[in-house]
Symmetry: C2
Amino acid sequence: MYKLYVTRGSGNCFKPFLTLSQLEIPFQVVEVNVLEGETRSPEFLSLNSAGSVPYLVTGEGQGVGESNAMLWLIADGTDLMPRSPLERAQSLQWMFFEQSKLEPMISPARFLGHIVPERGVGREAEIASWRQRAATGLATLDAHLADRHFMLGDHYGITDIAVFGYVHVSDEASIDMDRFPAVKAWMARVESTPGFKPLSTLCDGAIAFSARGDTG
Amino acid sequence: MYKLYVTRGSGNCFKPFLTLSQLEIPFQVVEVNVLEGETRSPEFLSLNSAGSVPYLVTGEGQGVGESNAMLWLIADGTDLMPRSPLERAQSLQWMFFEQSKLEPMISPARFLGHIVPERGVGREAEIASWRQRAATGLATLDAHLADRHFMLGDHYGITDIAVFGYVHVSDEASIDMDRFPAVKAWMARVESTPGFKPLSTLCDGAIAFSARGDTG
């Protein structure tokens, strides 16, 4: 059975969680407390030397990092996968876009402006710059989704999940999503797919990394 | 036949070029002059609205951006592809690592320190910071390659090409590669694979974007 190491509230951790949930694949969530430094602990670093979450460990003990990469293992052979070589390349084009033009801006703007605002004091200009650059990426996404039901066309899949992960918490980064109506309509469609679970349920039923001394 | 839009000297553009060359797939290189603003020209933006190179257009007129994404189309069904769902995820893990921990640091340090050094004047502290962060990523890569022949083990493939693209020009970013002996030994192995061509040959036989007015 898969073990998925996550931190509460993370859009990246949400991606493999949602994929596993929608595919009804059994998995165990292990909660690692990033704010308390648990990802830098010797126990976690011995599991994943990169010290990052999400981290996925297969039933055979193989570990995979990078949220978008693990979706290609979890969803292999399922209906959530891109269906041709061209679709696979297009899917990856959007996943690399997400990791360079959306996530690196939305995530810190949300973290410092919403999750731990006390740490954002004095960094207002930097946060504003992230918001502005995120909006540029969201405008590109909005144009793409204007005439599409899902990221690759009619068919929901891992590309939607990868892009949804952080885009759907853009409002928590104080980005006005009314500027991106096609993105808003697409988010509602994603939330209506079978077996969808919200980010707030990520750690329901999780075991704690520290308490358990879990090292994989 | 594939058309590959590139700019001279780019490690990202080199990746699909090397893949197509080693697979002996016929393709036409179109040279776009980024330094003269050709990627921001109306003609290029009508082809690729993201205004980025490399950009790949298939014989059927389908365009794909993002250097690492296009490798999955070009190499589909060949010996350069990862061979299992786990290997595909591991390959993508390294490709996302390359695009977040290596390329965003090596590329600007090389550009401002080596390619157009007159633009780097006054930005020495920023360039030093990129060099330092690149070295952190290269140390991770060195540890990974210490007991491996290629990125995924014994078998050369698109993961090696993706990581090689910018890592092999790290010396032009004034990074001392003697600190990373496993990376150096791996680079020599990559350069010895059948059909390898150096970055300096990227635009041999290319047609010019501007002169031809090529819009795809």
